[in-house]
């Protein structure tokens, strides 16, 4: 009946770009879910929408799937305008947060749903199911009922059910959030590998910044329906655009800049000389603070601090410090030597090239 489809690995060419142009969505007069968001996603990119709950990331995903319509703005997928195109006419498939597996169908029947709806031939359907099941590693589960599957297996079935259609774009709505930490970590790696192998455009939604950093080519951070920052994981973590992005990425050492001039800046813990950009905060990521004990030879430009708390984190210990009554967090790798204890005085060496200056929230 229909032409045999090329194997999945050859489909990289058909990966689609996504254009989101000044898209807004309001649910009620005062509830703005998305406010004038514009961004472009490259073909074959692993792109993540990151933000706290209610930031609009799931709304944007639903707009891409066609499950919701923007109030204004345009969405293009593969160069084609998606205006008025219903979900069942878009070459886009979604892995839902709840997996949304059909309870009246077993694993195989779930996976074949999309193929049935497209009226593919029986031979083509079974060929695609076998191939996808092998790719995802669920070939032994095909005849099982949905209620006989573990959480991780359901996740895989949901993924297979979407991928089997060989869509131009795969949307993933917090697909790993219901799984325990170990399994979650393994599936992150698997998903990433799969995306590389297929060369398919993935749009991934999560509220977990570590997950976003591990998996993505690029991340868009959303805050209250607005695009706060877009960039590579490294850029977002090391050079956050504003206070919101910095705090969301897990940074705690944000020092308000009291005064700045040509030779340096003044902060509550002291003055740092150097050529800094204009901004409201000095960000000191953990790797910019080197902890020295008082009896160790002092590096130049050290500041003194008191250890309030030590939090053992396995590979490293996190130190909560007070520096001129200002709280700071620093880490030290656990290399067998005893570290400072609570109440100890320590010296902090600040590596200013690892520091960043950033804007107040919303100024960026």
């Amino acid at each position: 009946m229909s032409e045999p489809a090329p194997p999945m690995q050859q489909r990289a060419r058909s990966a689609s770009s996504i254009g989101i142009d000044q898209v807004s969505r309001r649910f009620a007069a005062d509830a703005v879910a998305l406010d004038d968001v514009s961004l472009d996603i490259q073909p074959g990119e692993f792109f993540t929408l990151l933000g706290p709950s209610g930031c609009g990331k799931t709304t944007l995903l639903r707009l891409l799937a066609g499950l919701d319509q923007p109030d204004s703005g345009l969405i293009h997928i593969g160069g084609r305008s998606m205006q008025g195109v219903p979900p069942h006419r878009r070459s886009v498939n979604t892995v839902f947060q709840s997996y949304a597996l059909f309870p009246h169908r077993n694993v195989r029947e779930n996976i074949r749903f999309g193929l049935e709806m497209q009226r593919l031939s029986a031979a083509e359907i079974s060929r695609r199911i076998e191939r996808t099941a092998a790719l995802i590693g669920i070939d032994k589960l095909l005849e099982r009922g949905i209620d006989q599957l573990s959480g991780g297996q359901r996740q895989r079935v949901a993924l297979a059910r979407a991928l089997v259609n060989e869509p131009d774009v795969l949307l993933l709505d917090e697909p790993l959030s219901a799984l325990d930490a170990g399994l979650r970590g393994r599936l992150q790696i698997e998903l990433r590998r799969l995306q590389r192998q297929l060369g398919m455009t993935f749009v991934f939604v999560t509220h977990d910044q570590e997950e976003a950093m591990v998996m993505s080519d690029r991340i868009a951070v959303l805050n209250h329906g607005r695009l706060a920052q877009i960039g590579t994981p490294q850029a977002i973590y090391e050079k956050p655009a504003d206070e919101f992005v910095a705090r969301f990425m897990g940074h705690e050492n944000l020092l308000p800049i009291k005064k700045s001039d040509a030779t340096g800046i003044e902060t509550p813990i002291g003055r740092f000389s150097g050529d800094f950009a204009e901004g409201a905060y000095l960000l000191l990521p953990p790797q910019s603070l080197i902890l020295h004990r008082l009896d160790q030879p002092a590096a130049p430009d050290c500041i003194e601090a008191v250890v309030d708390e030590c939090l053992y984190r396995g590979g490293m210990t996190e130190y909560r410090l007070s520096c001129s009554d200002w709280p700071l967090v620093a880490t030290l790798a656990n290399q067998g030597r005893p570290g400072p204890a609570a109440g100890d005085r320590v010296r902090l060496e600040v590596v200013t090239r690892a520091a960043a200056v950033l804007q107040a929230e919303g100024d960026g």
Partner: protein, 268 residues
């Protein structure tokens, strides 16, 4: 030991309940096989009353009417009630969602009030327009009216128990509106539709009060026949009809239970 006594009391209560529930039915069944015309003394086993029953044209007509009424009204009620249950689900968050409560009126309204009201209404319409003379037609309308809420309730409950993203998953997986109905909605609702079909069927077979008020001279059903026959005294013939009705209702209940059990083992 007060706890032991409570347990003994509750157990006694259970046996008493079973006795008063099933013993009367058992009496009816036993006396339907009586060889003499008595509901007081059992003289021996015979199938005479059943033979008479099937030879009685009036009873056979009543049986036929009951079957037609139950089947036709149930089929109509399942279609209308099913769509209504889906509509209530689909627009449950809408501004007019409180209208749902209007449909549940027949569930709480006493049958006698409902029956009299239907009768008066049909008579009025008949006087004005000359249509809807009392008969099977009016009975079907009345039965559909009280069956629909039960069907809508069951279908709606099943829909509310579903993950809402299932509807979106079907759209996302290329199902057109018609395909969503045939490949997703109907198969998913099949257990609820089957259960509401069987419930509506028993409700119709059971019903006396509303049938009584909306029936015409030609549309006597089994419950109405029994009621009119019983004024001349309970005969073993009536016991035989009752036994057949008990058997039918038991059969339907068993079917519905078996369906429920299969659903639990194959579904989530």
């Amino acid at each position: 030991m007060s706890r032991g006594r409570l347990t003994a009391f509750l157990r006694g209560f259970w046996y008493a309940l079973m006795l008063f529930l099933y013993a009367p039915l058992l009496v009816v069944v036993v006396f339907s096989f009586n060889s003499i015309n008595s509901s007081a003394r059992f003289a021996g086993f015979s199938l005479d009353w059943y033979k008479r029953l099937f030879a009685n044209d009036v009873i056979m007509q009543a049986l036929w009417n009951t079957a037609v009424l139950a089947t036709v009204s149930t089929l109509i009620a399942v279609v209308i009630g099913g769509m209504l249950g889906y509509g209530f689900y689909r627009y449950r968050l809408g501004r007019l969602s409180w209208l749902v409560w209007l449909i549940y009126l027949p569930v709480i309204m006493p049958d006698i009030v409902f029956g009299i009201a239907e009768m008066t209404f049909f008579v009025l319409i008949n006087q004005w327009l000359g249509i809807l003379a009392p008969g099977l037609g009016t009975m079907i309308i009345a039965h559909v009216t009280f069956q629909v809420p039960f069907v809508a309730l069951l279908v709606n409950a099943r829909l509310l128990a579903l993950d809402p993203s299932l509807f979106e998953a079907a759209q996302d997986l290329y199902a057109s509106p018609w395909q969503r109905l045939s490949a997703f909605l109907l198969p998913t609702l099949r257990p609820a539709i089957a259960a509401s079909f069987l419930l509506a069927l028993t409700l119709s077979i059971d019903d006396f009060v509303i049938s009584f008020f909306t029936a015409g001279p030609e549309s006597t059903t089994l419950p109405i026949y029994i009621w009119s026959a019983i004024r001349k005294g309970v005969t073993p013939e009536i016991n035989a009809i009752a036994t057949l009705m008990i058997a039918t209702v038991f059969l339907i209940a068993m079917l519905s239970m078996l369906g429920g059990r299969r659903r639990r083992t194959s579904d989530t």
